[in-house]
Amino acid sequence: MEVPILKQGHFLIASIQSALTDADLSQLREALVLRVGKLRARGVIVDVTALDVMDSFAVRTLRDIAHMTRLRGAETVIVGIQPEVAFAMVQLGLTLKGVATALDLEEGLAFLDRFTKERFERA
């Protein structure tokens, strides 16, 4: 199932609606890396509220998304990791080190606002 990607101002919002296969996750990664350029986005939010489990492949793909979009000049923030999912992730040894996270969409947008203000308005 393809994840819809919306544009809001300078940001892209990918809102995951249901369980994703490995292929779906890879497709999301390619789509975001491309669209950051096409739509000249400065920030990306991946909303994982609907994911009831995140295994090593999902976490690796999210980390790749964050690192790849950063190389393209956009900051990514992962929002909506559920408490049980966080618990299982830590036990699995999965950390998302170096990737911004926020509680929910609202906090994610606030984070990107601050982040991009600092980066783009100082210049």
Partner: protein, 135 residues
Amino acid sequence: MREETLQPVSSDVDIVSARQKGRELAAKAGFSEGDQTVIAAAISEIARNILMYAKRGEVSVTLANSEDRIGVIVVARDQGPGISDVARALQDGYSTSGGLGLGLPGARRLMDEFEIHSAPGQGTTVTMKKWRRSA
């Protein structure tokens, strides 16, 4: 109470089905949402290992009643190439597939009991159990 689900694994969609079936059974057994997620995550890792190394296999999840406790038993079987160094495969960060190397050791941490039988050319069987915390 005895119930079992069996999920053949030969594509990435089957990984999702296997962990969803496991979660449903764990819910039926009365596991907390946290434990359901833990079981689903462990199933996801071992089902992916089947796909990655053996191409096909199966994951069964069974409800288990043992004297005073209730749990789930997950068995993942394949007829793939097998693992030549099981001890090494259970180390964090060791992978021959370019993955994170957290699948087997991670699944072992998530579950209460974990056993693996494998030898080159003999396929691999992973048996994992999780017991419900008694109320």
